[in-house]
């Protein structure tokens, strides 16, 4: 886990050259007490890849992501980044949370973004340079001196993304980062996300329940089964040129398959809860 890029001058990374790390999920089981959240998941995520974890709500996508971030220990199996086991929260594994509650409301936007570099003992000048660089990347340089509560929801999520990127992590984990935004803002953010990912070159694991979002962003989409004891149902390659065109026939075809997969899982989950979806019609 070595990185040559220093504060302020990161031309090497700007072109997206090999900054990400390969992530390996090997037979992972996660339990909370007697609740079996995630069962025997294995996934290989390539360095620099954008992987979407797609699944019905409550299926354990976020649980798996928490394990990747080091917040939750798997009960069984191994999680590694470039071969090194994940043992706890790590600045190399940046996390963008669904809620912008994760921002520090008492710090300015710039101070929020500089938080990681500050914790890691960078000089004041380096902190500011990094913060401003990544604020520019997410288009919020002009808001650097404002406070998070003064920003809109979409802007706050951009701050979260900049804050994670300012640590120059190898892997960025995103937990439905645009889920709480209105439809228009979400669309803009999704387009921006593709650009930001390509500029940063990191590996992204992106949790969503939005099929279109997955198609728009991912190199591969891993569909999860409905929980409890969720696992990976199917992994789809999204072999479409970027920027993506939603009306591309291949995209439409992929959407149909994904919708069918998710539909099956939702119906299964309803049946498990004693609600037969066929009966209700």
């Amino acid at each position: 886990m070595t990185k040559a890029i220093e504060a302020g001058l990161s031309p090497a990374k700007k072109d997206g050259g090999g900054h990400g790390a390969a992530v390996r999920v090997d037979g992972v089981d996660i339990k909370f007490g007697s609740f079996h959240a995630v069962c025997d998941i294995s996934l290989d995520i390539a360095a620099g890849e954008f992987l979407c974890l797609l699944g019905p709500s409550g299926c354990g996508k976020s649980t798996l992501l928490s394990a990747l971030a080091g917040f939750v220990r798997p009960h069984q199996g191994a999680l590694t980044v470039d071969g090194t086991p994940i043992t706890g929260p790590d600045p190399e594994l940046g996390m963008v949370f669904q809620s912008s509650e994760a921002l520090f409301d008492w710090l300015t936007v710039r101070q929020n973004v500089a938080f990681g570099p500050r914790m890691r003992g960078k000089s004041r000048a380096e902190q500011t340079a990094l913060a401003d660089e990544y604020l520019s990347l997410v288009g919020l340089r002009h808001c650097a001196d404002r406070f998070p509560p003064q920003l809109s929801g979409g802007m706050r999520q951009r701050v979260q993304i900049a804050r994670v990127l300012a640590n120059q992590p190898q892997v960025v984990l995103m937990d439905e980062p645009f889920g709480a935004l209105d439809a228009q803002t979400r669309q803009v953010m999704q387009q921006e996300m593709g650009r930001i990912w390509q500029a940063s070159g990191c590996t992204v694991v992106f949790v969503t329940h939005d099929i279109d979002e997955a198609i728009l962003l991912a190199d591969r989409v891993a569909v999860m089964t409905a929980g409890p004891a969720a696992s990976i149902k199917t992994v789809y390659e999204v072999d479409l040129p970027r920027p993506r065109d939603e009306s591309d026939p291949a995209a439409l075809e992929l959407r149909r398959s994904l919708r069918q997969d998710i539909g099956e899982e939702v119906r299964k989950s309803l049946r498990d809860q004693g609600l037969d979806p066929e009966d209700e019609r």
Binding site: S99, W106, M119, R163
Partner: protein
């Protein structure tokens, strides 16, 4: 109250809004005035009904205030009581905030201290007056310690409640950005807890005023509490009234100052009072 001016809004509307706010303020002040006048009226009625040996009239209280102010008793009492309250309350904060942070953050500390917090919080300071004098003498320290006692537990309780209410995602975010446990405590937990600390400080201030009279019950030469107690011995009901009213006004002023300073200085921490 400040009016936020938005560039895009046409001027007349802003002005109208400012005018409306001013009118609302005026209305509030007028109602305060009405309430005070009615209160004094009722007081006067009670005084005429029960006579000066039971209720000192507003006029008698005012002239007694004049007397006490002229010979310096009132000012000295205010200074003495304020000093005790500020020192005891300040110590309560200095000890209570770090203790509350530790209680909220570290389960072992919480489990060790909780029984004592839950025990002492139900014992009123007046129960300790005798012990305080026996242990610490009749000097300032016994009074300050009683104020400290009444302040510290409420600060600890509020601070630790604040620590336990810090959002999980903020803590996780800080940890994954590379903050150590200590950095998280200083950089995330403490700032998130500030509104709770301020609430604790205000409640502690109230407690301190409730306690000052009992703290000065024994062997205080000067102070608002001691004024109230010694007046009883002289049968001066009017002085008792002066002491009580001064105490109320002083408490109100202290709380106001605390609120204004806290909401100005600590606004970025989400303190809204």
């Amino acid at each position: 109250m400040t009016t936020v001016t938005v560039d895009a809004t046409p001027k007349p509307r802003v002005e109208r809004r400012a005018l409306q706010a001013a009118r609302l303020r005026l209305r509030t002040l007028a109602l305060y005035a009405v309430s005070v006048v009615v209160g004094i009226g009722i007081w006067q009625l009670l005084a005429t009904h029960y006579g000066p040996s039971l209720v000192a009239s507003p006029h008698a209280t005012l002239s007694a205030t004049g007397d006490l102010a002229r010979d310096g008793t009132l000012t000295n009492s205010i200074i003495a009581s304020s000093r005790r309250i500020l020192i005891g309350w300040g110590l309560g904060l200095v000890v209570g905030v770090p203790a509350g942070l530790l209680v909220g953050q570290i389960r072992l500390v919480r489990q060790l201290l909780e029984p004592y917090i839950e025990f002492f919080r139900f014992i009123p300071p007046i129960a300790f007056v005798t012990l305080a004098v026996v242990w610490l003498g009749i000097g300032e320290s016994s009074k300050v310690v009683l104020i400290f006692y009444t302040a510290v537990f409420i600060v600890i309780l509020n601070t630790s409640a604040g620590v336990m209410a810090v959002s999980e995602s903020k803590l996780r975010a800080a940890a994954s950005l590379g903050a150590s446990r200590r950095q998280i405590l200083r950089g995330v937990v403490l700032p998130s807890t500030v509104p709770y600390i301020i609430t604790g400080a205000r409640l502690a201030m109230g407690n301190s005023f409730l306690t000052i009279v009992s703290a000065e019950i024994v062997a205080a030469q000067v102070g608002l509490g001691s004024l109230i107690w010694t007046s009883r011995n002289y049968g001066r009901i009017d002085w008792v009234f002066v002491g009580i009213i001064t105490l109320g006004i002083l408490g109100f002023v202290f709380d106001r100052v605390l609120r204004i300073v806290a909401s100005r200085v600590l606004r970025r921490y989400g303190v809204k009072l």
